[in-house]
């Protein structure tokens, strides 16, 4: 027998034309164990209030329309089971909100212009001379095809994008979905615009270096795209293709290798100096003095090394796969 439960839903209601502030309305509904969040939205609309608005189409996790937040968790409504959500949050009351309340237009419908403009920014299409009447396909090995596969499963739902804290505080950040899209093409052996794309995603303040590595995107993505993994791919390709500019971000990544080669461990003052350059250190003087006062700074003469450092040095020599020239 299927079981049912009565749950309370606190739902974000808002009409940008008439309302100054949103209101949370309460609906108590009987839900069965197989029901998904989208079933709840449909029930509210079809049995309680027809004016309740949200986006949906395919109802089985492939069209990307129905992104929302439940108790702060960024989801597509047609994939998450209601009981599981209630159990996860150990509650009988779930809060249903749009992906980003600040962008709400009506109830759960948000203005996604920001999301699509990022999508546009990475040249989201294969750049190649297209043979309009081909008699033979490009030969692509299964391994090469598999490289693209994960990123190609993205349905542009925006779940990761609206879960990303870096996007939230920096509206210019391209964000996980579009960066995964960029990686989808930079890993495609048929694409001719790899370098253009790497240039776009390397812009400081917007691109891959603004990711805070929180893994929210990978955790939230309903399609297993692993956007942060794709961002790492872009980082790697940046160095492989000698597209890395000589700046604070690239030096910071490279600096770890130098530090490890020198001491095995990181000299934290040195990594800041190496990344920022000696002049760049100026802006860290305040924090540096605070730290010094608290006894947090290891003086160069006190910096000690890992034991068996020669092993580390040897491995760095033999296992390095890229070099950094710095444009």
């Amino acid at each position: 027998m299927s079981t049912t439960r009565t749950l309370r839903f606190r739902v974000f209601r808002f009409n940008a034309e008439t309302d100054y502030l949103p209101a949370y309305k309460i609906y108590d509904l009987e839900v069965d164990e197989h029901e998904l969040m989208l079933d709840v939205l449909d029930k509210i609309k079809w049995t309680k209030d027809g004016s309740f608005s949200y986006r949906r189409s395919c109802r089985h996790g492939i069209c990307g329309s129905c992104a929302i937040k439940v108790n702060g968790k960024s989801i597509i409504a047609c994939k998450d089971n209601v009981f599981e959500l209630a159990d996860l949050f150990e509650t009988d009351e779930l809060i249903i909100e749009p992906s980003r309340t600040e962008r709400a237009v009506k109830d759960l419908i948000v203005d996604k212009k920001d999301f699509w403009s990022k999508y546009d920014a990475v040249k989201p299409y294969l750049v190649a001379e297209i043979d309009e009447h081909p008699v033979k396909e490009n030969l692509v090995t299964p391994e090469d095809a598999e490289l693209i596969n994960e990123a190609d499963q993205c349905i542009q739902c925006g779940v990761c994008y609206y879960a990303c804290p870096a996007v939230e505080v920096n509206p210019d950040f391209i964000g996980p979905a579009a960066l995964a899209k960029a990686a989808r093409f930079t890993t495609d052996v048929r694409d001719d615009a790899k370098l253009d794309r790497l240039e776009i995603v390397n812009e400081l303040g917007k691109g891959i270096w603004d990711c805070v590595k929180c893994y929210e995107c990978a955790t939230a993505c309903p399609k297993g795209v692993d956007p942060i993994g794709k961002i790492t791919t872009l980082h790697n390709q940046t160095f492989e293709e000698d597209m890395a500019e000589d700046n604070v971000a690239t030096r910071h990544a490279v600096g770890f290798k130098h530090a490890i080669a020198r001491h095995g461990l990181l000299d934290e003052t040195e990594i800041v100096r190496y990344s920022e350059g000696t002049f760049g250190m100026v802006k860290h003087i305040g924090v540096g003095l605070d730290m010094m006062r608290a006894g947090k700074v290891v003086m160069p003469w006190n910096m000690h090394n890992s034991k068996n450092l020669d092993e580390v040095k040897k491995l760095i020599k033999s296992s390095s796969t890229t070099t950094f020239k710095g444009k």
């Binding site: 996860l88 949050f89 804290p165 870096a166 505080v169 920096n170 950040f173 400081l204 303040g205 270096w209 603004d210 990711c211 805070v212 590595k213 929180c214 893994y215 929210e216 990978a218 955790t219 942060i228 790492t232 980082h235 790697n236 160095f239 604070v248 690239t250 910071h252 990544a253 770890f256 290798k257 490890i260 095995g264 461990l265 990181l266 000299d267 934290e268 800041v272 920022e276 305040g286 924090v287 605070d290 006062r293 608290a294 006894g295 947090k296 700074v297 290891v298 000690h304 890992s306 034991k307 068996n308 092993e311 580390v312 040897k314 491995l315 760095i316 033999s318 296992s319 390095s320 796969t321």
Partner: protein, 292 residues
Amino acid sequence: MSKLRYALFAGCTPKGSTPELMMATMAVAEKLGIELVELEAASCCGASHLQDFDDFLSVVLNARNLCYAEKEGLDMVTVCNTCQLNVAGANLRLKSDSKLKNSVNEKLAEVGLNYTGSVQVKHFLYAILEDYGLDNLAEQVVKPLREMNIAPFYGCHNIRPTDIAQDSNGGESPYMPTSLDNLIIALGGNSIDYESKNKCCGFHADLQAPHTSHALTGKALLDAKDNNADYMVTPCPLCHLNFDTQQKNAAKAAGREIGLPVLHLPQIIGLALGIEPKKLGLDKHVIDTQLA
């Protein structure tokens, strides 16, 4: 209970700019009778940055780190979320990808090492939770943290990505983490519920995107403060660096005074166990803890 023994992967920050974390960890371990055998040969985990430059190299170096724990025949304990991410992450990748394991072992052979995948890697928090046990810990409390409202700050890399957390940190939920809350309660403190507790402190973009970093740091601190926290506690020294040493910058970004002292996980345990504040390095903070 037989004595708990672990290989300690200390990490660079506890040996560098958060010496108080190292002090407190060792003091607490001693008090609880947990033996931590420091892996002195270990190298830096790469801090989630080396992988951006050279992913393979970062796996090789962490495989080497794991080899030293394997040599000791001990499970490994970390005291930093990002060390946990990198070392446990390498462990998971190597265990599930035999091709990668083979090519890594080829390199390790040059220095006479071989990775087998025989040890677990867990953060100290989970060693206490799962192996030592909260009930046991509660019994050792001599100075319950009754007066303290403590905001637990989990730090990303102990709870995300989920596959690593599943494999090594007892499958803590990234959406509803409970370990720190339970620990605070076991120590007799009040754990504060607030939205930012499982969010990001911004540390990893500190140099590259300082505005983003400061904004996130400020947001989390203020969220805790606005929910009546007297202290924040975190298992991660990198979160700590941002919250403590960068708190002034965060306040500037937020346009508000903050003034919230932030403690390391072993520091609050140590306080409850009655360890002298100085031994826990409580005087080595930028934001005064008023405890030392």
